[in-house]
């Protein structure tokens, strides 16, 4: 039988670094999925993932085992992604003239008939990615967790370390910011 997470963690804390590898292998897909929500380039995603695991290894002694290891790790991953967003804030400023033909076409279809523009279209996905990159770090984090990953305010509070009222306030601001960004994208063409 494979050792459990607490057994592996206890072994690592006793100095058996090799016991960390099964933990890495088990939770690597989840950490990659989280990192890909906040970074697009493969190199950036890999950097985030490595950073998450380095932090997990260094801070393992602070894991008290009250909650599952996965929750503790995901909290670490969300914090690392947020740090990444803040560090790369300036690089994300995009010019709105950069809309691709496919994105413009999708918006044209949406304006003509909102139901005709498919949600699953590649252009819609590109537009979503563009929109997310325009958001400020807290807005992007909140929209991702609340709207896309469908987490509750309480869960977000636990993941981010922000208080419940702060999460609510930031969610309200994030939605407004998103609408503002959408208006910026569509202003020239449709308004």
């Amino acid at each position: 039988m494979d050792p459990t997470d607490p057994e592996l963690i206890a072994a690592v804390l006793k100095g058996d670094t090799a016991s960390f590898e099964p933990l890495v292998k088990k939770y690597l897909p989840r950490v990659f999925a989280t990192a890909r929500r906040y970074a697009r380039r493969d190199s950036e995603v890999e950097d985030i993932v490595q950073e998450v695991w380095s932090k997990a290894f260094l801070k393992l002694s602070s894991f008290r085992g009250e909650a599952p290891f996965e929750h503790w790790l995901m909290r670490l991953a969300v914090h690392t992604c947020y740090d990444f967003l803040r560090a790369h804030q300036r690089n994300r400023e995009t010019s709105f003239t950069e809309l691709s033909d496919a994105e413009t076409g999708w918006l044209d279809r949406y304006v003509a008939d909102p139901d005709a523009a498919s949600e699953s279209a590649a252009a819609a996905k590109q537009l979503v990615a563009r929109l997310m990159e325009m958001l400020s770090p807290p807005a992007r984090l909140i929209i991702t967790l609340l709207e896309i990953e469908d987490k509750s305010v309480k869960e977000i509070s636990a993941l981010t370390g922000w208080s419940v009222p702060l999460v609510k306030v930031r969610a309200f601001r994030a939605r407004a910011e998103m609408r503002k960004c959408l208006a910026k994208i569509t202003r020239d063409k449709y308004l």
Partner: protein, 101 residues
């Protein structure tokens, strides 16, 4: 254009995108290799190493000082036997006591 409706549509699009859980080949090996570089410093090990180094230095200083004392005594000794000197020193008090009588 109703941006609120467009926002809802785009969020629905984002939700429909499945989380990408692909992992590059043998990425866990890369992480494990990196962990060797970020291994936390063990304070007790550092302290122990420092103590051992200090102990070796102390022993070396003691040996050098002893050797120096030994050699300098050999070179500068003008008196006779050590036992004679000891006897004189011990009996000084007795001699002075006799004089008092």
């Amino acid at each position: 254009m109703n941006t609120t409706e467009l926002q809802k549509k785009l969020i629905a699009t984002a939700r429909s995108m499945a989380a990408d859980e692909r992992v590059p080949y043998a990425f866990e090996k890369r992480i494990m290799a990196r962990l060797d570089a970020v291994r936390p410093l063990d304070v007790w090990t550092l302290w122990g190493n420092a103590l051992w180094r200090a102990a070796v230095s102390c022993v070396a200083v003691t040996l050098l000082t002893s050797a120096w004392m030994l050699w300098s005594d050999h070179g500068s000794s003008t008196h006779g036997d050590f036992s004679e000197e000891l006897e004189t020193a011990v009996l000084v008090a007795a001699d002075s006591a006799d004089e008092t009588w």
